[in-house]
Point group: C2
């Protein structure tokens, strides 16, 4: 997994925060326009994760992303709109839940590892960073509950669907947390996705199948 | 679980940070001396979790704890000594791992829920808050790896002990994360410890038993 090669620097918060793409980038050409967008999203995720909402400025995000503040306004609108863009788990949930229940456990592990590689960070873990912080970031937790837990619960049959969905969400968050926590030298950093799935999927599948 | 009754306020960071006891308290009497100590530890955990090490001051911790800075120095010594006190997972690990491997899965769930209740917060989760932050808090991750993961790995038999220990640690972190994330209205907030263990322990036990 390429993400495990990175040292844990402040920049890696963005990666652990589920952000995508490479940093920097000018927005003068078509090719770099997409790079600029990703840089903005990554900078915004970092800013909203690390600082109270009220202290986050478009100017600060722009400086971090290497673009002009006016470009952010043009692309995303207001600060609130930008926050809403980065505080969204739907794209990750779409991929995570795209399997039949009978094989969902393994699919969840393989997809989580794949998303972490592709986005150079964890697609869900930033919700944990927001725990205990009272400001607009409570929206992050509400979004997670709606877009991940409730959606998962609706797909489960049998008793305790909501509780099982919460525990499945916990195992997914825990997988990302432990992979980030033990890199770059941990056993999880050197294990292939299939081996991780062999070990981690059965517990997930049991919660999916129900008691 | 009493901790689920609390709203998620800034003060709850301390609770989620594994801190113990009630806040405030004068240190003039024997009875309040212990309260003062707990208030200091809780304030220190909050400070070291939320701010860079260099920005944390004994004066700030003292103000938060409702005690004098000189009392902190008298009780804990230097800022570094205080950090070392709060960045320690051994007491939690002692309780978590106090069961034979054959029954450890269930014991882990019940102990985790019990510790969260008793400490009004999660004993391990603060290590996740430190992800991606480069300062003395990297020590928090090293401590976790030594005091939780490596200690667990040493108790496991069979192949992939280190990898399984990392995944078990992940499931423990994930349990705390999801209980905190979905409170106070979540299904996990209303489920008893035994029901949580019924659902969550089998996955842990499977990782303990090995492939």
């Amino acid at each position: 997994m390429s993400s495990t090669e990175e040292p844990l620097t402040t920049a890696t918060v963005a990666a652990d925060d589920g952000s995508g793409g490479e940093g920097g980038g000018e927005a003068g050409t078509e090719a770099s326009a997409e790079t600029g967008r990703e840089a903005i999203v990554r900078a915004a995720r970092r800013a909203f994760t690390l600082r109270p909402y009220a202290e986050v400025t478009m100017r600060g995000i722009a400086a971090d992303a290497g673009v002009s503040p006016s470009l952010i306004v043009k692309r995303f609108g207001s600060k609130e709109a930008l926050f809403n863009t980065v505080a969204d788990f739907r794209a990750a949930a779409d991929e995570l839940f795209a399997a039949a229940p009978a094989v969902l456990g393994r699919h969840l592990v393989l997809t989580m590892v794949g998303l972490r590689d592709r986005f150079r960070g964890d697609p869900l873990l930033r919700v944990v960073f927001s725990l205990g912080i009272e400001d607009e970031r409570t929206l992050l937790r509400e979004r997670f509950r709606e877009q991940v837990t409730d959606r998962l619960a609706a797909r489960l049959t049998g008793p305790d669907a909501q509780l099982r969905a919460e525990l499945i969400a916990g195992q997914l968050l825990g997988l990302g947390a432990t992979l980030s926590l033990h890199r770059p030298d941990g056993a999880g950093s050197h294990a292939g996705p299939e081996r991780l799935a062999d070990l981690y999927a059965p517990g997930l599948q049991r919660l999916i199948d129900g008691p």
